[in-house]
């Protein structure tokens, strides 16, 4: 990991760098093609990497990230995010409609075990804590959600098609499963289960999808830059956003492991947890949480 050098070491390092550059210039003129020149070049390369280091103290870096970079990228990506939300919820409606009209299509979105359980009037989330402890459950959920979010992001490099595939599939799956459980009188219970963690979880997946599609857009329309340059800039922007929102999946996973499956938590508490965690996420994204006092 990069380390902050103390002043004496940094000064000595820069001094070495200048002297070696000086020696190398002479060696190249006087002793071209010799071992001395090769060794000095090697030394200067090593010193160059040490001196030309974009190290920034982590507090300053985090402050810049949260205060300036994330809100800027969020507002830049907001139109894409809206389109992604429309596609996702549109596909959820499509999934709902398909399963409502053709119940046998539930098999497209749910496993046989899940279908059997719902047909017996049981949700797969019922009594889940008897089988898996909350901590283990949270770990599994976080790992899965982080994988989905990061996959949605990086698959954007396939001209956005990979990201759209994940988005469409997940939208249709949620709509389809909700419709199927609704048909068996369990829709409200599933909605109640999703309420506390769903706001953050869905938000992060949609943001990751918007970030992924922005990579595809940079490749498809690079403008005056080369495709590689456009992609690099889009990745740098999107990575700032993901570095901040992906950790929220940890929060969502903890809520899903410790609050969502516990029946004692009523609708109001779940609603409040969902709204509060969502407000925190969107507050961070828009920069409201870290807003500087007006001068």
């Amino acid at each position: 990991m990069p380390k902050q050098l103390d002043l004496a070491t940094a000064t000595a390092c820069i001094d070495d760098y200048r002297r070696t550059a000086h020696d190398l210039a002479i060696a190249r003129r006087e002793l071209p093609g010799t071992e001395v020149t090769a060794r000095l070049e090697s030394q200067l390369r090593q010193l160059h990497m040490r001196v030309d280091d974009d190290f920034e103290p982590w507090r300053e870096r985090l402050s810049r990230l949260y205060r300036d970079e994330v809100p800027a990228v969020y507002f830049k990506l907001r139109p894409t995010l809206m389109v992604m939300s429309l596609i996702f919820f549109g596909m959820a409606i499509v999934g709902w409609s398909l399963v409502s009209h053709f119940p046998e299509l539930a098999a497209l979105f749910a496993s046989e075990q899940l279908i059997d359980g719902v047909q017996r009037g049981q949700l797969w989330t019922d009594g889940i804590l008897n089988v898996t402890p909350s901590s283990v459950m949270s770990f599994g959920i976080i790992a899965n959600n982080v994988t989905v979010a990061l996959s949605a992001f990086v698959l954007g490099t396939l001209y956005g098609i990979g990201t759209l595939y994940i988005l469409v599939l997940n939208g249709a799956m949620i709509g389809g499963v909700l419709a199927f459980t609704h048909q068996h009188g369990l829709g409200l219970r599933l909605f109640r289960f999703m309420l506390a963690h769903g706001v953050v979880e869905l938000s992060v997946i949609l943001i990751a999808a918007a970030a992924g599609v922005s990579l595809g857009a940079a490749l498809a329309r690079p403008g005056l830059r080369t495709r590689a340059e456009a992609l690099r800039e889009a990745v740098a922007d999107a990575a700032c956003l993901l570095a901040v929102v992906v950790p929220f999946l940890g929060l969502a996973g903890l809520i899903e492991g410790f609050i969502s499956p516990v029946d004692q938590y009523g609708f109001l508490i779940r609603l409040l947890v969902g709204l509060a965690s969502g407000a925190l996420l969107w507050g961070v994204l828009t920069g409201r949480v870290w807003r500087r006092p007006s001068v």
């Binding site: 990991m1 070696t20 210039a25 001196v51 030309d52 992001f153 740098a236 570095a243």
Partner: protein, 231 residues
């Protein structure tokens, strides 16, 4: 124009041009195969250990406890080690490679995380096929992870500086003489005793230093001149 660049040209702040040799597909594949072997063995070792733990009466190891550490070893190997060691995984170290920014500087943590995250795409559809195709197709032999993170893989500079190299700029010892002294000292033991004494004396008199009669003393004087740059 060459199909692929072999060197990365870097200009230092003192306007001294440097070049770094870009690592080709072969060297990178070699480094990767070493890394892959280490992480596969690490994951396999955990699975064996976990199988043993499972057989201990009274100890329960669920599916997550059984597979998750192996997955963490296998998937976390590159990101964690490269973050800790600034882009130098054990495989790269053995193959003599390092990761640098496009301008030759040291990569930051963000760049290292990104180049590892995009392994997911480079590894598609199997066996890093996309990454290999990109390396063959790009001038600097970069995979997608390198492109998006603005990094390159180059051969590490391993040559160590000698004392004599750092006195070139001093006024006392002319660079060509310093080089000659160094070469004579390097071959000192191979030379015929009379020849090395004659050569050493000649060099010492060239730089206006007293010439001792004893061969060992001549060698010592030459070493001192080289070390201090004094003439």
């Amino acid at each position: 124009m060459n199909f692929a660049d072999e060197q990365l040209a870097v200009s230092t702040v003192d306007s001294v041009d440097l070049s770094m040799e870009l690592a080709g597909v072969g060297a990178r594949a070699y480094a990767f195969s070493i890394d892959w072997s280490i992480r596969a063995l690490g994951a396999a070792f955990w699975l064996l250990l976990a199988t043993g733990i499972r057989n201990v009466p009274g100890v329960e190891l669920g599916a997550i406890g059984f597979f998750a550490p192996a997955a963490v070893i296998y998937l976390g190997y590159h990101p964690v080690l490269e973050l800790l060691r600034r882009g130098v995984s054990p495989g790269k170290r053995i193959a003599g490679l390092i990761v640098v920014r496009n301008d030759g500087g040291a990569p930051g943590p963000g760049a290292i995380v990104l180049r590892n995250l995009f392994r997911l795409i480079d590894s598609l559809p199997v066996c890093y096929a996309l990454g290999l195709v990109l390396m063959f197709a790009t001038r600097r032999q970069t995979r997608l992870g390198d492109i998006v993170s603005g990094s390159l893989v180059v051969y590490a500079s391993r040559q160590r500086l000698r004392m004599s190299d750092t006195v070139l700029a001093d006024e006392g010892l002319p660079p060509r003489t310093a080089l000659l002294i160094e070469e004579v000292l390097q071959r000192w033991d191979e030379l015929v005793p009379d020849a090395r004494a004659a050569l050493g004396s000649k060099l010492l008199s060239q730089i206006d230093l007293p010439v001792p009669a004893d061969a060992a003393a001549i060698r010592e004087h030459l070493q001192t001149a080289l070390r201090t740059g004094a003439a």
